[in-house]
Each structure stands twice: as structure tokens, then as C-alpha cells.
């Protein structure tokens, strides 16, 4: 546990739509929902299906494998958690189960040169301290 490093912006609770997603990150599980009525993959998480309005949804755990849909490399951010880490990659990753998550691609030397659209990636976690939520990020597979 590192308390010296400033924390990233944290999800704020109570927020009942996304709280189950974030609770699961404490066990390093990346969860997403499917609709019991129409089968749609629902993401970002919410209590209803955004395709048909059904309130009957099921939580599933992703294998955490997918590909970079697109990304941008942020050269400057004023947030304390990001301003001193150098250029970092914001990305949309398409998980193999059919949902798209906003995330970071980490574990590369130079994000501009070493990341490409379509690149295969796998899930890893940025822990936020003992007992806290963890933030899902991706690294080259």
C-alpha cells in the first residue's frame, strides 16, 4: 500500500448503478451485465437494460481480454495523481465479451509509439490501498 502517491479521482458513493461494479474490483473482478430479457450487453453499469428497459439483469465476470479500440496520450493533466507521471494513455478497450470500457493502457515504454488501435491487451489492476476499490487498466497481452 502506497499512501505517498496522490490518489486518482475516486468513484463517489452512494451511487447505486455503478457500486456493484466497483465493489467487485476489491476482489480484482471486472464485472459487466447482460439483460435477461433481450440479451444485450450493458455497459456502463446501470440498474436497467439500455436497449429494452428491463430491470432484470445478470452480473458476469469478464476474462479481461480484449483489444484497444482507440487511445489518446495525455501530455499534461493538472490532477495531482497524473501531473507528474509523464505522458499516459487514455483508451477505449473492447472486451471479448462485447463491452467497451474507458481505461488506461499501461506497461509500455512510450505510449505514442508502443500502442496501436487493434492491439491485444489484458487486464491488470491499479490498487488504491488496502480494502479500497482497485482501478482496472490494461497492458499488452
Amino acid at each position: 500500500m502506497t499512501t505517498e502517491k496522490p490518489l486518482r479521482p475516486q468513484p463517489q458513493f452512494p451511487e447505486p448503478d455503478t457500486e456493484p461494479f466497483w465493489e467487485a474490483t476489491k476482489d480484482h473482478e471486472l464485472k459487466y451485465q447482460t439483460c435477461d430479457k433481450c440479451g444485450e450487453v450493458i455497459f456502463y453499469p446501470r440498474a436497467h437494460c439500455n436497449a429494452c428497459g428491463s430491470l432484470d439483469t445478470t452480473w458476469n465476470v469478464s476474462k479481461g481480454e480484449g483489444e484497444v479500440y482507440t487511445f489518446s496520450v495525455i501530455m499534461q493533466s493538472r490532477h495531482p495523481a497524473f501531473k507528474d507521471i509523464g505522458p499516459y494513455a487514455l483508451a477505449y478497450v473492447d472486451l471479448d465479451e462485447g463491452f467497451r470500457i474507458m481505461t488506461n493502457v499501461v506497461g509500455v515504454d512510450n505510449p505514442i509509439d508502443d500502442i496501436e488501435c487493434g492491439m491485444r491487451v489484458k487486464l491488470t489492476w491499479e490498487d488504491q490501498g488496502e480494502g479500497n476499490i482497485a482501478i482496472p487498466v490494461f497492458e499488452p497481452a
Binding site: 451511487e15 495525455i74 482501478i135
Partner: protein, 397 residues
Amino acid sequence: MAQTRDAAIVGIHEYPSRVVGSGVSALQIKAASAAKALEDAGLSWSDVDAVYDTGSHQNIGGLGISEYLGIKPKIIDSTSVGGTSYEFHANHAAAMIAAGKCNVALLTYGSTAHSDRRAIGTGGYASSGPNNPHNNMEAPWGMTLISNYGMVKARHMHQYGTTNEQFAAISIATRKHAMRNPEAVKAMTELEFVGIRELTVEDVVDSRMVAWPLRLLECCMISDGGGAVVIASKEVARNTAKKPVWIIGTGEATKYRENGGDITVSAGGQSGPRAFADAGVSPSEIDSLMVYDSFSITVMCLIEDLGFCAKGEGGDYVTQGHLVFDDPAGPALNTDGGGLSSNHPGERGIFLLLEATRQLRGESTSQIADAKLGLAVGNGGQLGSRHATGVTILAAD
């Protein structure tokens, strides 16, 4: 659908200062602009019977601004969809006027974004935003506004092979127009731009990287400013001071980040065809094209999605003799200098209507010869996630 001419823009004003300092508020910019726009129309304060306001400034919306101005409207509309709110407002005003619900609609905008030193682009989310699913699913990864658009540009380049040199054509054309507009030159001077001159491809592609693949000269300025638009019924428009500019086509749409969706296609893919069908005209007939240039990629996507060229061919389109006011290929892009080089206090949509109107009145500093049809297309929210695209097609009298 047959084209109708029930409502027209009859009065306009663009607040001249882009750096107002601490002694002027957003509400004061709105009121001063309203008075000038009504004067431009030859109408008076008491003629206004409909008020449109986003409510995004000083936390005062349609009700509060009506009281502040001293107007008792029959119609209040506080639609707030980011920078394109003003196309939505103009479209709604035209519909309400056509329905006989009001006669003189007032749209105002005022912002002190520069003086407030709001870090619109690079600030990212605060960790103490309201509890909602959007913040909870975006803030933890350090997204900034520019990186949201950067993701769209990266995908456009990947999917269609569009180059940085092609994107630069957008910045070059708008700067050329800005250099002909004394208010834009003054804005760039007050905002301490480095190198206030026409741009080369090298200037753009060598400028500082902000959020790869977006560079500084592909990003709009952050100014203070505002303006007002007066829209009136055809009966009122017969007696206004200047020639009316008719609202002949309107379209609105939204788009969200979707599983498996194509991020390079904006909501303009829906609202553009709606507006063209409403007006009964086609993209090739448009003389002046006012596109929300928050970033180069916004213009690239909207030009394609509205059908000025095929999807993915915008890179060729912007480099093959379009955009500049005196290029016969037309249409001309952002002849006031745009958000890149003239005015962007956070919600630029109203300036698209103002410059489109100037063109159709023959009042632009980069006047298109014999301009008959203009189009304003705004983009509000964030192009790479949830956003709205409003389209307003205008015709000369």
C-alpha cells in the same frame, strides 16, 4: 417535404471583447448583447415573447434570465446540450414561431471562461464531482476533454488513413479567415497567441502536442465572450431593420459511447440528413459552412457526417480546394476565424448562427460572393462519448 419560411433571424450581436476582466459578468454580457441584437433588428425589449437560455452560467436558467432581463415570455426553453445548445434553441424557436406560440424569440449567451481561468481542456475531472455513473466510469482514468477528442482523431487516422497534414488544412483555413477579421486578430492579441499570422502545414504539425494526436494549433482558444440572436415570425420580419435570414431546415440528434459503435461517426450522421430533408436542399448547394471547430477532428467528422463528402474521405476533401472563402469549390468554413482563431468561451454554437447570418446579409469580413445558403452545425458534450449535434440551415431573403 416542402421548404417553409415561417421564422427568420432578424437581429444579431457578437460581444466584441474576448478578455473582459473581473468587472463584467456572464449575465451582463447576455444583457448587453440582447440590447444590441434588438437594436440591430429595429425591435424593442418589450417585443420579446420567448426566451432561450442554457442555464449554464452563474447558475441562472430560463426563468432567472427572464427576470434579470425584465421580460415576461410566453415560451421559456432551457435546453442545455453543451456547445450546440444554440442550434437547438434556434430550431426550437423556429418551430414555436411556426406553430404560432410566439413572435420574437431571444437567444443569449455570455461566458467569462477565460477570466475565470477555467481549465476546460486539461483539467480533467475533480475528484469531488457529483455522484453519478458518468463521473464514476470516466474520472478514475484521468480523462481530459482534449483526450476525449484525441481518441476520435486517433481512430479516424487508423480507420481511414487520414494524416496530420490533412487535418492541418482546417486550422490553416480558419486562421486565414481570422486574419481578415479585426475582432479575431484583437482576440488572438488579447489572448497572447504566439505568431498571429497565416499558418503553414509545418506550423500546425510542429506545434506542441497536447493530447496525442491533437496538437496545440488543432485546439480552440479559451476566451470570454457571448452574443445574442433575435428570431422573429415572418409578419414581424417584414418590418425589421435588416433583411431577414430565413431558418429553412432544422435537425437534432444525440450519440453515446456504445459497445461496438463507430466513434468516428458523430450524431451529425442523423441530424444532418434530417435538416437537409427539412430544407429540401443538398450539401452541394451550401455556400457558407459554419462548423463547431472545438478541435480539427470535430470539423473532419461533421463535414463527412453531413454528407459534404463520403465518410472517411474528409482528409482529401479538406485539402482539395474547399474551406477558404474565395475558393470557387466552396463551401467556405468558419469565415469569422472560428473557435480555433476567433472566439470560444466554452459554448461556441451561437457564433455559428451569427457568422452564417452575416454571410447571408453580405456583412462578413471574408464575404462569399453571392452567398444564398448557409449551414450552422454545432457539437455539444464530448465527441468521443455522449454528445449532441444540432443543424440549422439558413437562406438569404
